[in-house]
């Protein structure tokens, strides 16, 4: 890995492309980017899921929308209503952001540990 990270010497174009591919595999995932991306996607999905039922004529009391309405057991304030769809959007954004941030955190941590182990092993072999 130590060799892969060393780009100081000029390399042929194919080698550089391969090296870039390896670098991209171990590239850092941006925490904020991943949090916002999943926040937007989950928020929109939850909001749309509620809105579609409302457009089709559902409400918390009718058959359509009753099942989704039970999500309020986990998300206080949520209901199958237009205001509820905004509450759902907020919960979705929040939940998605937590998921995205946590995911990026675990991903980066595992990569740092893995790359560290590879570099340490390479150093030990060099010393031997």
């Amino acid at each position: 890995m130590a060799e892969i990270l060393d780009f100081q010497e000029p390399e042929p174009k194919d080698d550089q492309a391969d090296a870039a591919l390896v670098m991209s595999l171990f590239a850092r995932m941006d925490h904020l980017g991943m949090a916002l991306a999943f926040g937007v996607a989950v928020g929109i999905t939850f909001c749309l899921a509620t809105a579609i039922l409302l457009i089709k004529g559902g409400s918390a009391d009718a058959v359509v929308g009753y099942n989704l309405g039970t999500v309020s057991a986990f998300l206080p304030g949520y209901s199958v209503s237009w205001i509820g769809s905004l509450v759902g959007l907020a919960y979705g954004v929040l939940g998605g952001m937590v998921f995205g941030f946590g995911f990026a955190l675990l991903w980066n941590f595992a990569h740092v540990v893995a790359v560290g182990i590879v570099i340490l092993k390479a150093d030990w072999f060099d010393l031997a």
């Binding site: 060799e3 892969i4 990270l5 780009f7 100081q8 194919d14 080698d15 550089q16 492309a17 391969d18 090296a19 870039a20 591919l21 390896v22 670098m23 991209s24 595999l25 171990f26 590239a27 850092r28 995932m29 941006d30 904020l32 980017g33 991943m34 916002l36 991306a37 999943f38 937007v40 996607a41 929109i44 999905t45 899921a49 579609i52 039922l53 089709k56 359509v64 099942n67 039970t70 057991a73 986990f74 998921f99 946590g102 995911f103 675990l106 991903w107 595992a110 990569h111 893995a114």
Partner: protein, 208 residues
């Protein structure tokens, strides 16, 4: 470094990321089911988890109890783990060299030595997410048909509200799969667009 060694490193990296995504998603979803089961037990009163308990159809031995939460963790870990591996393999095979273009450009421009920031291929991520969701819908519907409970699966049939033409049958799942693929593909692209916008904005800020 020879091309052969580089290709070996690429394959090792892909294998490592496949396992990593599998572990991270497995742990995340396992923990999610574990927590939701305990919340259901806490707030459910005499009949906790009326809907969450339906997961027992796909998670043998699962129930909305403290002990069932561990069974749920195991199954969710397994399903999400396999899903993570499938997602990454489809993504990496579809994206080709696209995610490395930004890294290559950074190397050529600045001879960058620090760890680069990942960029997402919207098309590849959309296809991978869409394919995974389709696989899950078709397999789970097929399971309901195989075990002979398709006619009683009222809750699964509610998916027809969102996926026009979906029914708890093999044909219905294929019709629903087309809609689900389209929606998942769009969401995959949205995720990639937002993520890449944020990383580019941060890179531009650093460059100033």
């Amino acid at each position: 470094m020879t091309a052969n060694v580089r290709h070996q490193n690429i394959n090792r990296g892909i294998r490592f990321n496949t396992v990593l995504l599998s572990l991270v998603l497995g742990f995340g979803f396992g923990l999610g089911i574990f927590i939701f089961t305990h919340i259901s037990v806490a707030v459910g009163g005499a009949q906790p988890g009326r809907y969450l308990g339906l997961l027992g159809v796909f998670f043998p031995g699962y129930s909305v109890t403290s002990a069932g939460a561990w069974v749920g963790f195991f199954w969710a870990y397994l399903y999400a783990g396999v899903s993570g591996a499938v997602l990454y393999q489809i993504y990496i095979r579809t994206s080709g060299s696209e995610p490395s273009k930004q890294v290559l450009s950074d190397i050529q421009n600045s001879g960058m030595l620090s760890r680069p920031t990942m960029s997402l291929s919207g098309n590849a991520f959309g296809i991978a997410l869409g394919a995974l969701m389709v696989l899950q819908l078709v397999l789970s519907t097929s399971w309901l048909v195989i075990r002979g409970t398709a006619d009683e699966s009222y809750h699964a049939a509610l998916l027809g509200q969102y996926l026009p033409g979906y029914t708890v049958s093999i044909l219905g799942s294929l019709i629903g799969a087309a809609w689900l693929f389209a929606y998942s593909y769009i969401m995959g692209r949205v995720i990639a667009i937002v993520y890449n916008l944020v990383t580019k904005a941060k890179a531009n800020k650093r460059a100033l």
